[in-house]
């Protein structure tokens, strides 16, 4: 597998400008002759589909939800970063770039991150022009707040619903193009395979989730914007439908999968309450601006009411351990600190791990109204789920799987190792290294969709010069047959266990246990033994009722879980291979005397790219060596 990142030469601040000039263009009159498939309609897919259609390309967009407006980007709460420096507090493109590389624990590609920081400002302009109602100051200017991993206020927000408002902006742009006949939208349609012709990505095979129809779609290029794989853990903050299938099918067709072990555990989620739990809910990281995280100093105080525990008996452990950043340390640091507190026997919830997030001080300082204005909807949500009033008693929170930095490998043009297959947003691996900073996911999704792919895909189309293909091509027929065969196999097992049983066992009992917040060699080896066993049982014991030619919710889930059961193995292999601790990947063998992550830049400053070698064959490991010319590699220090 050749990994040419195609990073342009020249000083970092000039790379993107120079590259844009060097990219080949498609004549405006010729754009309509190119069909582009976009899979996914979230921030990355929705913005890409809309923008490509505006440029004149012929776009088909697919999503499994009933409307493109429902993609899971909608659930992002806190905000979107940009280097506007409106607060005049010392921010710059360079600082955003620097913070992002450092926050990612030096495992991201410098050139990509710099471009992201450059584009960040255009995104805010674009969204405001669309009518996105960002928070504003009384003078009418846009408001900013600070977020984890940064010492400047560069985060733009729309109450606690920033993802929703940005997505509705992209959705409105997309709907405008649908109304104009420039985008054909295919909701309730799931991609089940990628089709290659002469080594190029030329189309997809889908299943209509209402009728069950298996259909082929041919195109000149394919864009995947299908989100992350956090649901491999069963319990995560992802939507119920979020899955790895599209990415994994592309992996099996030859796309390299990079750094799957870089998974982000978000520190502020509502704790698990029982076995029936179907998902976890995140409370925005922005809460850490005013909330103080603590547990009792003494384990015996844990069952007391929090208000009865005096100040001197509370351990504000983040403020104690990291005085400079305090409650605003990056997510991975905050999550591990919570685990450490709970592991020391100081969980504040009976039968489940949890720590306090306390707004008592902030309410006394700023008043309840000010806090309601900032976080009202989040407090309401907490109250609805937990049945407790966070204005009166501290929230109880615990880390949960939230985001996946790993994804399909892409070059500077966002193209995977399969020519013509481009990957955007959370589905790719490109910008966040081993840890994503808060308010950077929205930035990356929209950067990829609005401002990167519209340039780079033109270059591919102008230079690839592939002949037109139709779905009559044998490659489509073969892929369709493979998809149908697989569905038939799932339906014919006839066991007695549900899909959810296997999904829960994989996610909760194996991955969260052995490949969660802290990992070690013995545990990962154990997981790598358990996963194939579970997979074998899945194919013998699963029960999927009904048929493939109808709406069949169990069949949909079964296909996704079957892929999770294979993908989980690569995730654990990657975690086992990476013998260092960095970002979201913490190997217990590699820590400092005081329990902080210990990176090994000498051996592991690379992107680990896994290559499919056949079923029941170990995947091959390829490496993209990272070079840091601008950011000095240093131990992340938030103390």
């Amino acid at each position: 597998m050749e990994l040419n990142a195609r990073i342009p030469a020249g000083p970092i601040s000039e790379k993107w400008d120079k590259h844009r000039f060097e990219l080949k263009l498609v004549n405006p009159a010729n754009k309509r002759k190119f069909k582009i498939i976009v899979v996914g309609s979230g921030l990355a897919g929705g913005s890409a589909a809309a923008t490509l259609a505006e440029l004149g390309y012929d776009v088909d967009c697919f999503c499994f939800q009933d409307s493109p407006r429902r993609a899971h980007s909608i659930a992002a709460q806190g905000g979107i970063n940009a280097a506007k420096n409106y607060p005049n507090d010392g921010d710059s493109i360079y600082r955003l770039f620097y913070d992002t590389v450092k926050g990612g624990d030096y495992r991201a590609r410098e050139a990509n991150v710099y471009r992201l920081a450059q584009i960040s400002n255009n995104i805010i302009d674009q969204c405001v022009a669309q009518g996105v109602p960002f928070a504003r100051e009384y003078g009418g200017m846009l408001a900013n707040r600070s977020f984890g991993g940064a010492q400047v206020s560069r985060t733009f927000y729309a109450r606690g619903q920033t993802g929703q408002q940005l997505l509705l902006g992209a959705y409105s742009a997309l709907e405008r193009m649908i109304g104009a006949g420039k985008v054909k939208m295919h909701p309730r349609t799931e991609m089940l395979d990628l089709v290659l012709v002469d080594g190029h990505a030329r189309g997809i095979v889908t299943r209509n989730l209402i009728t069950g129809a298996i259909e082929s779609w041919a195109a000149d290029a394919v864009i995947l914007a299908t989100g992350g794989y956090g649901n491999v853990f069963y319990l995560s903050t992802n939507a119920m439908g979020s899955n790895v299938t599209a990415s994994y099918r592309c992996y099996k067709r030859g796309a390299g999968f990079a750094n799957p072990c870089f998974t982000q555990i978000h520190p502020t989620c509502i704790p698990v309450s029982g076995d029936y739990q179907s998902k976890l809910t995140l409370m925005s990281e922005s809460l850490r601006n005013d909330g103080r995280v603590w547990v009792p100093k003494k384990a015996e105080d844990c069952r007391k009411r929090p208000r009865e525990i005096p100040e001197e008996d509370r351990d504000y452990y983040l403020e104690r351990k990291y005085p400079a950043f305090g409650n605003l340390v990056p997510r991975d640091v905050a999550s591990r600190a919570a685990k450490e507190a709970v592991d020391s026997g100081r969980s504040v919830l009976a039968g489940s791990p949890a720590v306090y997030l306390d707004f008592g001080n902030a309410i006394r300082r700023d008043g309840e109204d000010a806090i309601r204005d900032r976080y009202g909807n989040l407090f309401d949500m907490y109250e609805r789920i937990s049945g407790e009033n966070p204005y009166e008693t501290p929230m109880r929170i615990y880390p949960a799987v939230h985001y996946t930095m790993g994804g399909l490998w892409v070059d500077y043009n966002l193209m995977s190792t399969i020519p013509g297959l481009h990957v955007l947003g959370e589905a790719n691996f490109s910008d966040h290294g081993a840890n994503r900073l808060g308010a950077s996911a929205l930035m990356q999704g929209l950067a990829d969709g609005y401002f990167v792919i519209p340039y780079t895909i033109g270059h591919y189309l102008a230079t690839a010069k592939q002949p037109k293909v139709s779905t009559d091509h044998a490659a489509f027929k073969a892929a369709e047959e493979a998809v149908k065969g697989r569905l038939k196999r799932l339906l014919s097992v006839g066991g007695d266990k549900s899909v959810d049983y296997f999904h829960r066992t994989l996610g909760v009992d194996i991955l969260w246990e052995y490949c969660g917040m802290a990992r070690n060699e013995a545990g990962l080896k154990k997981a790598l033994q358990l996963i194939p066993e579970l997979r074998e049982r899945f194919w013998k014991e699963i029960r999927v009722p009904g048929s493939a030619s109808e709406l069949n919710i169990w069949l949909e889930k079964a296909g996704r879980v079957a892929d999770f059961l294979e993908f989980a193995e690569i995730l654990c292999l990657d975690a086992l291979n990476r013998e260092e601790s960095c970002g979201g990947h913490f190997r217990e063998e590699h820590q400092t005397a005081d329990g902080e992550a210990k990176r090994d830049d000498h051996k592991f400053a690379y992107g680990a790219v896994w290559e499919y070698k056949g079923d029941n064959q170990a995947p091959a490991l390829n490496k993209e060596q990272l070079s840091f010319e601008y950011v000095k590699l240093a131990t992340r220090n938030y103390a």
Binding site: I124, R136, Y276, R384, L551
Partner: protein, 254 residues
Amino acid sequence: MSDEKMKITLHVWRQKGPSAPGELKTYKVDNVNPHMSFLEMLDVLNEELLQKNEDPIAFDHDCREGICGMCSMVVNGRPHGPRKATTTCQLHMRSFKSGDEIYIEPWRAKAFPIIKDLMVDRSAFDRIIASGGYVAVHTGGAPDANALPIGKKDADEAFDYAACIGCGACVAACPNASAMLFVGAKVAHLGKLPQGEVERRSRVLNMVHTMDTEGFGACTNHGECSASCPKEIPLEAIMTLNRDYARASFSGDE
């Protein structure tokens, strides 16, 4: 909060397809934990149906945190159930008590045909947005975001309308199956902002036209829409819609 298990009797609308006849079927669910969400209770029931080789209840859901707008069921006669400003996915069983009987039905509206059981087709909402629910700016070339100051009050009000999640509870609640609150929310959101001003007239005319052709009813001021809106979109949205529509209808220029 009590952790005692509850026994619930459900009457669920079952319908195989758009033109098949439907009926309410009764199911008993024991061992309901009060901390469960309403949809988790249905997950448990679907697991039981699987074990009995019965067809699972089809319902739409995705984010399960009240923001994607996918979940859509009428619970005891109220869209999204008894709790104010709460989507079904955020409704928890502690809102009920052991022994309760709960009726679960789909959104009922001509413009939202039933797909199966509790799932309906809401693509009419997308077509309404496609006909004008946007600011027609291409990507690129937008002026600096702070070039145009917008008062905090206007920005906040625009947000209040923009908070619509497009779930369709307003339509389900309305005796006329009117979509005026949904359309009004978008018209008011963009109408509050200078960015939306340029297309103000064409937007309202086009969106109302699509709303009518999709088969939504007219507003007769019941106010059920706003009362059952999980995001509490205010009724003023409809006033804005009516005012903008009247103004646009009587003015010749576009």
